[in-house]
Symmetry: C2
Subunit: 430 residues, 2 copies
């Protein structure tokens, strides 16, 4: 049986899951794939921490160059996370003739172009199944399962923390803050949750998905990002009344060969499959020209699901290695179709808008008048009853409207003395 | 760029989609995969039919041996369907040193063991993504994405015809027959729909999935099969009232290293993701030990989705070919874990039972008495009101009960003079 030697750099949560799987499932994997994966070395700065199982001392090192310099190693798994030294490790590994497996979405979002181009030049591959959607085989599906497809759009719930919080708010009728605390208690949110709740983690993953599906390198700055921290329980309740659900979606759409890239809370119909994705789960909806609609759902994080994806990358790479250690390469086609990226101002969606307005005659006429002036037409209005309240919520659903028009209209409306607050949430029907 | 030569046998609906994709997307596929797929020959008995695009005459043949005997061809695509001569074509192709791609679930369900063993002995692969779930990359996900996982259960909506009919009944409040006619009108059901509506097509697919996931060759006869033709609109309505949905599920479960294999109409909670799978769509729910819950959803049939899966198999095989035309092989591990297959009588589920009974005192006591005698305990009962009716429906939900006990109890109950009809539908909570 063919042996393929593997080195793991980063022996934290995911690394521990990967090492355990390589140890305990070596024979299962060998039987299924015909490849004997040999774990040659593990690197981490902290070698004293307990991992729940024993690893031979000879396998362990604190110096990652013990792995990148080991000529017998074919595949290096980078699970250090963060930008530095993860980037340097991957570059060195590629230059030393190794293929690379990584779960590092932040690095791929920021330096993907540089890394993938280097890998391509050196005839090596970087595989990254675990960087998006945890245990969901979304990357392989896009890269191989749908290889003959042109992609039209991807809608993803790719941040489990945010989805858990929104689900809690909806099911338990609690505020954003209470739901966040609960998420932190259960280990679904970090102490500093900004990356997750403000949409940046989703944006990282969106960049990775976009590069793969649309063959275009995009930057984080090309993604419009809005998080969920300003979503109120009221808006969730009004949405529910209208048969809608609020999800933090990462969206990329090809509209007439222009790409839209955005992450924001989004109202979708409750009958939509993405609306049923609850708790810390992830799901990615892909529209492509041959297959049509495809949805993949599963755990977006966690030691074992993520380790499962890392190991599947190792096997996939190993299967493709020839005797010289080279392999067929997936190429990020620079799509000649994509003419440009749309700025957020040029994008159109339907909107849910909630105004807190003083309850007196003529309020609605004033608001509607301004919307009309900016070419925004109203699909429905409801004034939510509040007993003896001086300030009442007015909820408006618009037809499709330009972002720029909406922004300008809201600026005008917010200046009205009768309006105390306004909230706008984009809608998607797909 | 490496060239890989492909021959297509069977130029019908799917074959036409495959040939079109290979023609029109050759450069897209080559850019992405680094492999130039060359369509060398196409075989069909009927070469005169219009396919909507032109194919060079030199490519066409009526004799499949022109393809199996062509030494330059690396991969043969079998899209003839049915058992004969599809089986002979695949055997001949393997013996002549070709890898094989097929969409033929009936053949794989019946002769998979023989074919896969032959392929393994000859160091060739048979790929079959298109045999289950049309455009959904379920086979690759099980084979590669989840390669380090042990599987616990698979629940699939894998027959679009049945799912379309059940969805129509539910949404339009029409009878099974009316829904079937509508499905036939729209091209979702064949004139002779038995294979689809009686569950046999789902059983074929279940056998294919089971072999792959559980590493055990099973026969069609090992699958308990019950179709949807006896599902009444009343049962769908009562289910809806209880927050349940009826789906035709193909189920394989590993219960203490014993496999359960069954296809039957199943009541599931409306909040379950599978409950939202409507119309002709398919979805496969997979529970495995590292990833946990995974669901893949997409089109279960159709020319382009199925062709997409076939082409992805061709590329996956091509990527793994070495210069001798051999490749790494997926092996169906004969799982030493699976001790035996459970017969349907030994399986336990919860049940929905509906009796049509004469409306007089003591009816329920009699029915409940018999159920109790067979150790079946009742979770809830409701007698559906029917104005001035002499015969009324009584709906009972049981706790988990053995199939055998249920069968015997129903036999007894059906003999009661007060009972005119009984219907039992299994439930799953997962």
């Amino acid at each position: 049986m063919r042996k393929v030697n593997v080195g793991v750099i980063g022996f934290g949560t995911i690394g521990t899951g990967v090492v355990r799987a390589l140890k305990e499932r070596r024979s299962l994997i060998a039987k299924r794939s015909g490849i004997d994966l040999v774990l040659k070395k593990i690197c981490d700065k902290d070698l004293s921490r307990r991992r729940g199982f024993s690893v031979k001392n000879a396998l362990l090192t604190r110096d990652y160059q013990d792995i990148t310099n080991d000529e017998s190693i074919d595949i290096i798994v980078e699970l250090v996370g963060g930008i530095h030294p993860a980037k340097e490790i991957i570059i060195e590994a590629l230059k030393k003739g190794k293929h690379v497996v990584t779960a590092n979405k932040a690095l791929l979002a920021e330096y993907g172009q540089e890394l993938f181009k280097l890998a391509f030049r050196l005839k090596k591959n970087i595989y990254f199944e675990a960087s998006v959607g945890g245990g969901i085989p979304i990357i392989q599906s896009l890269r191989e399962g749908l290889i003959s497809n042109r992609f039209e759009a991807i809608y993803g719930i790719v941040n489990g923390t945010s989805n858990f919080i929104l689900t809690q708010m909806c099911e338990k009728s609690v505020s954003f803050k209470e739901a966040l605390v609960e998420a932190q208690k259960r280990g679904f949110a970090e102490k500093k949750p900004t990356l997750d709740i403000e949409g940046f983690d989703s944006a990282h993953k969106l960049v990775v998905l976009t590069q793969l599906a649309f063959g275009k390198f995009v930057r984080l700055e090309d993604v419009f990002v809005e998080g969920i921290s300003r979503i109120s329980l009221d808006d969730i309740k009004y949405a529910t009344e209208m048969g809608l659900v609020i999800k933090l979606l990462a969206i990329v759409k090809n509209e007439k060969d222009e790409l839209e890239l955005r992450v924001h809370p989004t109202l979708i119909p409750e009958g939509h499959l993405l609306a049923s994705v609850d708790g810390a789960f992830n799901a990615i909806y892909v529209a492509s020209d041959m297959v049509g609609d495809l949805l993949l759902y599963g755990p977006g994080a966690g030691q074992n699901p993520t380790a499962s994806s890392v190991v599947s990358d190792i096997v996939s790479l190993a299967e493709k290695l020839d005797i010289d250690g080279n392999s067929q390469q997936f190429n990020f086609v620079q799509s000649p179709h994509i003419r440009r990226l749309r700025k957020i101002d040029q994008i159109s969606t339907r909107f849910y808008i909630r105004f807190m307005a003083i309850d007196k005659p003529g309020v609605l006429a004033k608001i509607a008048g301004i919307l009309g002036k900016y070419g925004i037409s109203i699909a429905s209005v409801s004034q939510k009853e509040r007993r003896r309240a001086r300030i009442v919520p007015v909820v408006i659903i618009t037809h499709e409207a330009r972002e720029r028009s909406m922004r300008l209209a809201l600026e005008r409306i917010n200046k009205l003395a009768i309006v105390r607050e306004s909230v706008a949430i984009r809608m998607e029907e797909t």
